[in-house]
Symmetry: C2
Subunit: 245 residues, 2 copies
């Protein structure tokens, strides 16, 4: 299987990312995280695997919710150094999540927050995730919204002369494949997939889709800062809850 | 349940629609129809219901594929008059498909080609479709792509001074609800739903998603007429194959 890019060990990217994530009012905190946890089943006594765990803060929450085992996996040494320091009671492993052959044993719930868009071959990945899940277990993940990953020249908005957003410039939605984008630094490799490619890969791997979410900001968030309103034109995230059949 | 608009009995709409459908190189013929039939299971001996059957040409194809029973349902008297004349061996019924309480008995496969975007309450509709399907049976439908139905002011492209498409003007994707659009005539009522609303409604109704398609023109079609290329930015159709659990 092709290897994923390890952009998080790029110092400039790492520093920039840290800054974004420390913002209380980030899209991660206001949109993605509440949606992800709303999809979580009861974790009491469950074995949980977190693919692309980053700083490990979700791992800590899974543990707090009663998970019996939590393993956090990430490709980045720098991210894991933070995770290990902040959550010394949790097990972390450095590995490329696009190949899960290193995983021994099975898990009840596999989470992945904003990492699967770095995986090149989603079809093979879905199969390998299904292989490490107990029957009846769940794969719950978030990713950049397919409308965000679509444009080959990068996501962008059309604005009037005063800077107001008029529409999202959608291109290349049906052209799946690698995207070389600028996010914090140049040359971040992501992979665009249509909704149907995502759904079909999961179904073929042995999952049934239980729920999808495309979270948007609350009215309170928009009232606080009108720039959030553009997410109603084009959401930032897609989340899927899939059950192993 | 709210009633659907009966725009097909508007004479101007009916005439305009007839002209579009008679074009061999329409998006229906080149993209939607091949995708719909590729999702069809073996129909030999199966009871088939076609919701929004229009001219009844799909009903005839289901019959040709060996279906034991075919019932075509449409809200439009004018459309059904054509259907009855062209396919005298098939049973047709005039009714609003948004309320299926008139259906007696169960079907093995329910098809619906380009009609569900006229149904206001998709969640209630999905439940009522599930009710008329035998266990293990299928609901296979096509609809206008959610990116087409999204913009409140109607689907449109951003072009350069020479008329070349630069991007699709995406707005309002996350704002589900009624759309009052111009298509052939003014005032055609459609209903926009996000991918997640469609998927969640089907799952809650008792279906499991088996496959989704967002067909695009073939390379041959694009070579024949370059204007088809814009469908790679934004597909025209979404198709879903859902199985009653």
């Amino acid at each position: 299987m092709s290897k994923s890019q390890n952009i998080f060990d790029n110092q400039e990217f790492f520093d920039g990312y840290k800054k974004i994530r420390s913002n209380r009012y980030s899209a991660n905190n206001l949109e993605e995280k509440p949606a992800l946890f709303s999809l979580a089943p009861d974790l009491a006594g469950k074995a949980v695997l977190d693919l692309g765990c980053g700083y490990g803060e979700n791992c800590a929450e899974f543990k707090a919710r009663g998970a019996s085992t939590v393993l956090g996996v990430d490709i980045s040494e720098k991210m894991l150094a933070v995770a290990i320091e902040e959550h010394p009671d949790i097990e972390f492993l450095r590995a490329d999540m696009s190949d899960l052959s290193f995983i021994k044993g099975k898990y009840d719930v596999v989470f992945s927050s904003l990492a699967v868009h770095y995986v090149e071959d989603f079809s093979a990945f879905a199969k390998s995730v299904c292989d490490v899940i107990n029957p009846g277990g769940y794969f719950i993940f978030s990713q950049e919204h397919p409308l965000t990953t679509a444009p080959i020249t990068g996501a962008s908005w059309f604005r009037d002369d005063d800077g107001n957003v008029l529409h999202y410039k959608l291109t290349d939605y049906a052209r799946g494949g690698k995207r070389n984008t600028k996010w914090i630094v140049e040359g971040v490799e992501k992979h665009h997939r249509t909704f149907s490619e995502i759904v079909n890969s999961l179904c073929e791997a042995g999952f049934s889709i239980e729920r999808m979410m495309e979270p948007v900001p609350t009215e309170e968030t928009i009232a606080m800062d009108k720039s959030w309103e553009k997410d109603l034109h084009k959401p930032n995230f897609l989340l899927v809850k899939a059950k192993k059949q």
